[in-house]
Subunit: 325 residues, 2 copies
């Protein structure tokens, strides 16, 4: 995306945030009103084939994560946590007609997988935001529950993102639109991050902190890993880069947070990113923890989000302990 901007006669445009302020999800597209039907292709849903307000109108919390299995497990966990009727094992994938994403509804909570990387989550977010708009959802909070590589913190720590930054430690997301590059802010909702940090203080079994999250376009060369099929730099150069990231305030590295922050902000969705760290990148590149340990790590953000949702719904009883996932 670089050289063109250097060469281009067209300037790089910077976009400002634009809220409606009425709690509705804001679709910033004048063309949508003139469409007689909207097919959400990657969800296998549509405005003519499905009654979206009836199916989704009561949604207040949307939780997204990369892995389909993890987001199903989270939906089943929330079903237990919210004390809903029926067997959580019978939960049906609303997007069963496609294998691009999976989606589960648990009362006011929607759990969706988004795959790996910025392009994959951006397709999901475009269709999710249109879905919430068509369903006339109001006051929706959206949280990415992810896994990440940690920087200078204990594996298993949970990072609540204050600002998502790119590979150059800048709080921005660059969106190519036709042949123009538009720069978008990646700031997340500060009050929501604070509220989540408060919740975490009541869960003793894992450390939680607030920090910057670096979002890259790949897992190997882009994150300074020495163990990919291609690697052209030394261990010293790698550590120098990771230390500079740490000094810039980065505490974890993943692959979706900048576009997630940018799109949610533009569409008036209060958004947070809560990721567990699977390793400390200053100590290595390969994820060596056992399946059991990794599974336990992945449950940490889910426990935190469950407590947050139950508190918001006034279902939280300080005496009770969280049911196991």
């Amino acid at each position: 995306m670089t050289s063109i901007v250097v060469n281009s006669s067209k300037p790089v445009k910077t976009e400002k945030k634009n809220y409606t302020g009425n709690g509705l999800v804001y679709v910033k597209n004048p063309h949508l009103d003139s469409m007689d039907e909207d097919i959400l292709y990657h969800f296998d849903l549509g405005t003519k084939t499905h009654n979206l307000p009836a199916m989704f109108g009561d949604i207040k919390f949307v939780c997204v994560g990369g892995s389909a299995n993890r987001m199903k497990a989270f939906a089943q966990f929330m079903h237990k946590e919210l004390g809903l009727k029926g067997d959580e094992k019978d939960m049906e994938d609303i997007c069963a007609g496609t294998d691009r994403y999976c989606m589960y509804k648990v009362g006011p909570v929607l759990s969706i997988s988004h795959g790996m990387g910025i392009p994959s989550i951006s397709i999901m977010l475009h269709e999710l935001i249109k879905l919430l708009h068509h369903a006339k959802c109001c006051d929706v909070t959206i949280i990415r529950i992810g896994t990440s590589g940690g920087l200078g913190i204990e594996p298993g720590s949970v990072v609540i993102t204050d600002t998502a930054v790119d590979s150059f430690f800048k709080p921005r997301f660059e969106q190519v639109i036709l042949d123009r590059v538009v720069v978008r802010s990646t700031e997340l909702d500060k009050d929501l991050a604070e509220e989540l940090l408060e919740c975490s203080k009541e869960i003793k079994d894992f450390p939680t902190l607030v920090g910057h999250t670096m979002c890259t376009y790949d897992f190997y060369e882009g994150q300074g890993r020495l163990d990919g099929a291609l690697c052209s730099f030394s261990n010293e150069k790698k550590l120098d880069y990771l230390r500079r990231a740490y000094n810039a305030g980065v505490r974890n590295i993943e692959m979706e947070s900048t576009v997630f922050a940018a799109m949610c902000r533009l569409c008036g969705l209060k958004a947070a990113v809560v990721c567990v760290t699977l390793l400390n990148r200053l100590h290595g590149d390969q994820i060596r923890a056992s399946h059991e340990v990794l599974l336990e790590y992945q449950q940490q953000p889910q426990k935190l989000i469950s407590m947050f949702i139950k508190k918001r719904l006034r279902l939280w009883n300080p005496e009770e302990s969280l049911s196991s996932i």
Copy 2:
């Protein structure tokens, strides 16, 4: 990735192709030899836990595509086409231990899903290239079998990519390494494209052509769609962009070809991209074809690749017709 290069004191580096010439898959990473174990995390495979040469040493063809269901269907189709023993329904996912990708082996053919977008396919390619290297595979041909949006051609047409280009119609892939942007060539193997075009002449039931494929970082704003959650441009601006793409030689648009071409080229893998077009973007943005029609479209590249593989294996009998998928 733009402004930094403008600001950066570090220059943009251009990489040259680097073949070993002995038919082996070339891993361009001096650090790998010093690792006592290599965990291919997103495949749930490893050099200590699995005998990779025994499992994969005979692989000659690797076929990749975005959708897990489609790549399973392709593996089952190839099982029938190659006349292998056993029931193709019993085929097991080699990556069953993870839900990031799925992988099926059918004789000398490996069928793998890669999800959507450049970051998702790049993680898969790093681990696939290391897998082929560890397994000591030789003379491997890799083909991406995908779906795409067409430009000025009939829906259902199959495009064999000669060169993958970015959103600015340039034959390049920009890889961020630490805080440097490296530009890589996206040229594909011309002889392989020619061989595939020759094969297509024997299949009458769908049009096949050779053209440039444009690879974008998202499906909506990045491909000039008017039906996303965000859209800031007019139908006229969209059509002007798509027409300029057409005039630059682009015949279809997808989201993985540039990094696929760049990485395969650097690692000495003869690579091709063969995508069916689901719609003509000059006529619209939404994919309105029925499931049945889309399913039929998706079988076209599979039929072509099956014929190519059977010809290479000298299993092709001009008298026989392809079994239905």
